[in-house]
Amino acid sequence: MAGGSIGLWGVPLAVFGGAVRVSTPFLFVSLGECITEKSGRINLGLEGTLVMGAMSGYAVSYYTGSPWLGVLAAGIVGVFMGLLHALICSLPKVNDIAVGIALMLFGIGLAFYLGKPFIQPQAPFLPSINFGWWSSYPQVQAALKINVLFLVGIALAPILVWVFRATRWGLILRTVGESAEAARALGFQVIPVRIIATCVGGFLAGIAGSFLSLYYPGSWNERLSSGQGITAVALVIFARWNPMLCLYASLLFGGAGALGPSLQSVGVTEGYYLFNAMPYILTLVIMILTCSPKRMLSGAPGELSITR
């Protein structure tokens, strides 16, 4: 049996393995954005944060030899990007969507600028756990190699649900996002809460970036991220600001994103680019199906500019 071919079964298997790999950045960005949006702000700049995280994570991993320090550094850089967004948005009359667009361009530019020296060298990668040790098929083993960050993300989703629902912090966050006036009346500090929520969102988006450069696809170059950040922001909207739905949606997206490479691996190259665009097409279609001009989206934080 050892090393035998499993034929076309390789496609669903590769899609599964790919879904796990590809979904991780979606998962982290969407959970982070979920926290930010719950506070009543939207940060469209997470695409820039993602690329900055990818670059800084790769650079730190290269210099220190520790990929985990790289992940931490990417998270910290993400906090700073989030802080920048949060502080500018806290000025009166400033539009959070426009600031997000600006930070998207800024983050990408800065990452390309600072990341130039790291395109060539090879940084140590994040380890993964092999859940496929029992199988003799290399395809099965490859599909069941699961990165630790993915497991962290899976654990994070229910934890966030619990935090939102049952903790003091979650209640304050939701109140601020639902109605700034009510929050003020209760004595909560609206702006500091939003700043913290945006920083936490940036932290998670930075980590998502480090996953891109340190695990899959696993290199630093200027074509590394292609819209995962912005897709994840859209994902939060149709996941109805529910972390568990963010998790399922991320997996769906990961599967869609893995379809192109999986088909290519078994020799189907026709329509490669169109298959690669699947996550964007899927996002658009789901948004068309789930949005409505008539009513506010159920579960939307009342202060969110994007749903008003």
Partner: protein, 373 residues
């Protein structure tokens, strides 16, 4: 420029604007001065921050400023380079500025440019053999329709399905790029293009050529005409007035019976058509064929141009020339100072952030208030 801004103090700012009818003229003057001085101040602050940034990289800010100015406007060659780069920026900026009149934030100009360029090329190849003017007009019309429909889709989804237009227009960029790559690698590939998959050429004879005595192609003139038309449309027609009313308050617009959906669709179509024309010009003046070179980021810089110009079509022209200049000096910064080519993108990003933050300054500059009192 930052100095007067810092003097803004709450008591002065709280003074009523225009204490009497006689003060109205000076209020108007103050607003106009503000509309010019605040962006210039923001530009100065951005250059200062960028100087600090390069100082960390061990490059003297003064050298940076010198090379920026020199690379943008220092010689006839660089002026032509700047103006050539400004032309697609003018058109893609309209793609953000026109929908912005309706309160929509469209950031998908890059997608409309790519789709417009691709369909214009198809039209150009399809019309091969016809007189050049027929081919050029055909390409422009098809490119504008394709780009226009692409952005009208985002506008329509917003109006009829409540899909956020900022996100959908950006998703459409990625989809447009995928379509371009798919088409030029498969069904519409010139078999002779080996390393860089491209469509067949539209033919030398059909290129739109340059303004006599210069190396600048006619795209610049088309862009300026488009901006003037857009200005007239917004400020001097019933359509533009309706659009601005709907942008100010959708409910009020519905109340007085304005067809909001139609306004959104047409305005988005026109914005997309401008970006589609930019794509057509890139093909018909520079590339001669559709390929990945169309994805040059003009659409994204156009967003910045539109915001810098505060979505005013006439202001777009000088702002686009300024940003074209920053882009043109990138090579100079790279060759003379060893800065990475992304340095100009960093400067653009800083400028974008500072401009948005400078919104705070409007109506708060003490200098203008004192004059009124």
């Amino acid at each position: 420029m930052a100095a007067p801004a810092e003097q803004a103090s709450p008591p002065v700012a709280a003074a009523p604007i225009g204490t009497g009818v006689a003060a109205k003229g000076s209020v108007r003057f103050g607003a106009a001065a503000e509309a010019i001085l605040v962006p210039i101040g923001a530009l100065a602050v951005s250059l200062l921050l960028f100087g600090l940034f390069t100082a960390f990289a061990g490059v003297s800010p003064l050298d940076v400023y010198y090379n920026l100015a020199n690379g943008a406007f220092g010689s006839w060659f660089s002026i032509q380079n700047t103006l050539t780069r400004a032309s697609p920026l003018i058109l893609t900026a309209l793609c953000t500025a026109l929908p912005a009149q309706l309160g929509l934030m469209i950031i998908g100009g890059e997608g409309a440019l790519v789709i417009g360029g691709l369909f214009a090329t198809m039209a150009g190849v399809g019309l091969a053999g016809a007189p050049p003017i027929v081919v050029q007009v055909g390409m422009a019309v098809v490119g504008m329709i394709a780009g226009g429909l692409w952005i009208a889709l985002a506008g329509g989804l917003r109006h009829y399905r409540g899909v956020n237009e900022t996100i959908s227009s950006l998703l459409l960029v990625y989809i447009a790029i995928a379509i371009l790559n798919h088409v030029v690698e498969g069904p519409f590939r010139d078999p002779k293009s080996l390393n860089k998959p491209s469509s067949p050429s539209i033919g030398d004879a059909n290129l739109i050529g340059t303004i006599p005595g210069t190396e600048i192609h006619w795209g610049l003139v088309l862009g300026i005409i488009a901006c003037i038309l857009a200005y007239i449309l917004i400020n001097h027609t019933v359509f533009g007035f309706s659009a601005r009313v709907a942008g100010g308050n959708v409910r009020a617009a519905r109340m007085v019976g304005l067809p909001v959906g139609k306004l959104i669709l047409i305005t988005c179509f026109l914005g997309g058509a401008a970006a589609g024309l930019a794509g057509m010009i890139e093909v018909a003046a520079v590339q001669e064929r559709a390929n990945a070179s169309l994805i040059a980021g003009y659409g994204y810089t156009g967003i910045l141009v539109s915001f810098l110009a505060r979505h005013n079509p006439l202001a777009i022209v000088p702002v686009a020339i300024l940003l074209g200049g920053i882009g043109a000096s990138g090579g100079m910064l790279q060759r003379h100072l060893g800065l990475p080519d992304a340095a100009t993108v960093v400067l653009q990003g800083i400028l974008f952030i500072v401009i948005l933050a400078s919104e705070v300054m409007y109506g708060r500059i003490a200098l203008f208030k004192k004059k009124e009192a």
